[in-house]
Every structure is written in C-alpha cells, then in structure tokens.
C-alpha cells in the first residue's frame, strides 16, 4: 500500500536530532551495522511493547523482539521505502510473534477456538461475567494486569493480533488487514469474536473500576 498510514507511526520521536530513518536504512543496506543499531535504538521499546501485548511474557517478548530485529537485518535489502521503516518492521515483528504463538500452540496441543462459549450467544446479546465481581477498590493494578494477561492468553494468535492492533495500537482495519495479509472482512470478523471473548472474561473488571 503506497498511501501513508494515518495511525501507524511513520517516524520515531527522536529522528529530528539525527539522520532520518531512510538514511539509516540505506546505510544498513550497505552493511553498516552501526546504522542498524541506531534504528534498533529508535524502535526497540515500541517493538518490545507490541510483542509483549501479544505474548504477555517479558522474556518471550525480549527474545521475539531480538528475532524480529535479526530478521529485519537479514531482509533489509528488500525494504524499498514504500512505507515507513516502522510499518515494515511492525509486520516482521507481528509475523515472528504469530509464528511463535502458533508453534507453542502446536507443541502444547492447545487448540484455540474463539467461538467456544459464544455459539449460543445471540447477536447483540449481553455478555455475562464469568468470574465473581470484586469491589473496585480491591482490584489492584497488578491484578488488572494479571486478568488482562490471562484473558488475552485465551485468544488464538490471529485474534490476539487483531485486538492488539485495533484496541491498543489503534490501527485501521485496512492496516490490520495489510499487516496480517488477510481481507478487511476477516479482520472485522476476528475483532468481533475477540471482543466477545474478552468481554466475557473481563467484564467484571472493567465494569467495577
């Protein structure tokens, strides 16, 4: 897609003080690891956060961010500048993360079915909290984090990616579709089921804080 993204970050906040991303990419393409190191410094925090939101584990997020940047380095010659560097990197990081989640899913024998428990819900029906309600003051930040982690962990890799990109990273449907290499309709469908499941799992939390 040649149209610049409205929501995907196109420039790092600190690029005003140094060479722009395209200069650094060009130098990286010539084999300059120092230039690539600068790109890593610019995007490491964002990359780590994005992956953490998917895997909900610090060590895994660290390792996958490393894998993603190594993959980006190996493929830097293929970057043609049709999008921002971060848009290109984001897709690599997302693919690395989804592949990892799929591998874990296969290894553990876990089968995600985001429609489990939703088949009997009539369209538009109210979701019911599964867990016992707790008074707002008793829910600490740590517990909220644990509940969000646990709820997102119950989504399939594809549904996790859709909800993280839409709700947390704020991407448009078309951008999510491009990142996930699927149709916009598929993105909307994934969002529907992911939201339903998260509503069922988290309603008691977000309705009481």
């Amino acid at each position: 897609m040649d149209v610049p993204s409205k929501t995907m970050p196109t420039e790092a906040p600190d690029t005003a003080t140094g060479p722009d991303d395209f200069d650094l990419v060009a130098r990286s393409q010539a084999g300059d690891t120092a230039a690539f190191n600068e790109l890593v410094t610019r995007y490491r925090t964002r990359a780590f956060s994005m992956i953490y939101n998917m895997v909900r584990n610090e060590q895994d997020a660290w390792d996958l961010a490393q894998d993603g940047f190594v993959k980006a380095w190996k493929n830097i010659g293929r970057f043609r500048g049709q999008s921002s560097f971060y848009t290109w990197l984001y897709r690599i990081l997302m693919n690395v993360t989804i592949d990892s989640l799929r591998r874990k899913q296969i290894q553990s024998g876990t089968e995600f079915d985001d429609q489990i428990g939703l088949r009997n819900i009539a369209p538009g029906a109210m979701t019911a909290p599964k867990e016992e309600l707790q008074p707002a003051e008793k829910i600490s930040d740590g517990e909220i984090r644990t509940r969000i982690d646990a709820a997102i962990a119950k989504l399939s890799p594809e549904h996790r990616a859709a909800i993280v990109m839409r709700e947390i990273d704020g991407l448009e449907y078309s951008e999510i579709a491009e990142q996930m290499d699927c149709s916009i309709g598929t993105v909307m469908s994934r969002l529907f089921y992911a939201r339903k499941k998260l509503q069922a799992l988290l309603k008691d939390v977000y309705e009481t804080i």
């Binding site: 010539a30 084999g31 300059d32 690891t33 120092a34 690539f36 190191n37 890593v40 410094t41 490491r44 925090t45 780590f48 956060s49 953490y52 939101n53 909900r56 610090e58 660290w62 961010a65 490393q66 940047f69 190594v70 380095w73 190996k74 009539a122 369209p123 538009g124 029906a125 109210m126 979701t127 930040d141 909220i144 984090r145 969000i148 982690d149 909800i163 839409r166 709700e167 947390i168 704020g170 449907y173 309709g185 909307m188 469908s189 969002l191 529907f192 089921y193 939201r195 998260l198 509503q199 988290l202 309603k203 939390v205 977000y206 309705e207 804080i209």
Partner: protein
Amino acid sequence: MKPFEEQFTAWVDGKLTGAELAEFEKQLAEHPEAAAEKGDAQRLGQFLRSHPTTPKLTNPDFFNHQLMQRIAAETPRIAEKTGHSFWSLPRLLWAGAFSMVIAFALFRTTIPTVAPVVSDSKYFAQVVEAWPSDPSISATTVYSAENNVTVVWLDGLDYIPATYALN
C-alpha cells in the same frame, strides 16, 4: 451483503455510514440489547487502552549489545564490511592486474633470452665404446631423421686412410 459479525464490528467502531448504517440499525430493532452490547465493546476498548500493562524494557543497552552480537555471529561476512576496509573488490581486482603487468615487465627485462640451439637432429650421442689408437680421439654421432642419415664425427683424428673411408 456483509455477515452480521462484520457489520456489528463496523457499527461498534463507527465505520458504518449512510444507507449501510440505516439498514443495519433497522435489523437491530429486533435486538434492543444491541446498543448495550455496543457500549460494552467500546468500554472494553477504553479499558484496554487505559490500562497499559506493558512493562518497561529493562536494560535496553544490553538489548542492542546482544542483538549486535547475534547479527555479527549470523552474518560474519556482512559484519566485516562495516569496517570499511580499503581493499574493496574493485580495488583488489585492479591491484591484481597491476601486479601481473609489473611481474611480466620484470620478467622481460631481467631474464636474458637464450637463442635456441639450432639443430635439425633429434639424436645426438657420444660414442662411448670406441677403441681409437690415439686416446685424444673421440667419436660422436648425429642422426638426421629428415635426411635419414647418421653422421659419425671423429675429433682429434688427423686423417682417415683411404681404405677406411665410409661409403
């Protein structure tokens, strides 16, 4: 027509407009709880956005250090290029060609050329077993394949008696 899931998602996110929105809202007349469901989905989104759970990247410099080590290990030849070595490939080629020219010039100027021994004979041999009356006399033979002839050459012989002449 889009499936319900897609239309509902677009409705929640405010992406339905015009006739599409009117038609969908007509469908939802049968589902009065849909408005509450929409609000619920929107609250979920606000909740997720307002509770960033991402921990800080600890030790970011070590992150770069570890990454650069991996890159150097996995792509050693590319990593070596980063030193901007003087000996790039074109320079190496030019240096090689120049060295060959110098070597050839030295060879031509310093190694004397020796004129080849002109001999039409393929066989030149000294006769070892000869019994001359005078020890200063030696015999050699030369064979010319072109003329199909063998010449016996005697050094030190003053003369040959006429009766010894070869025919």
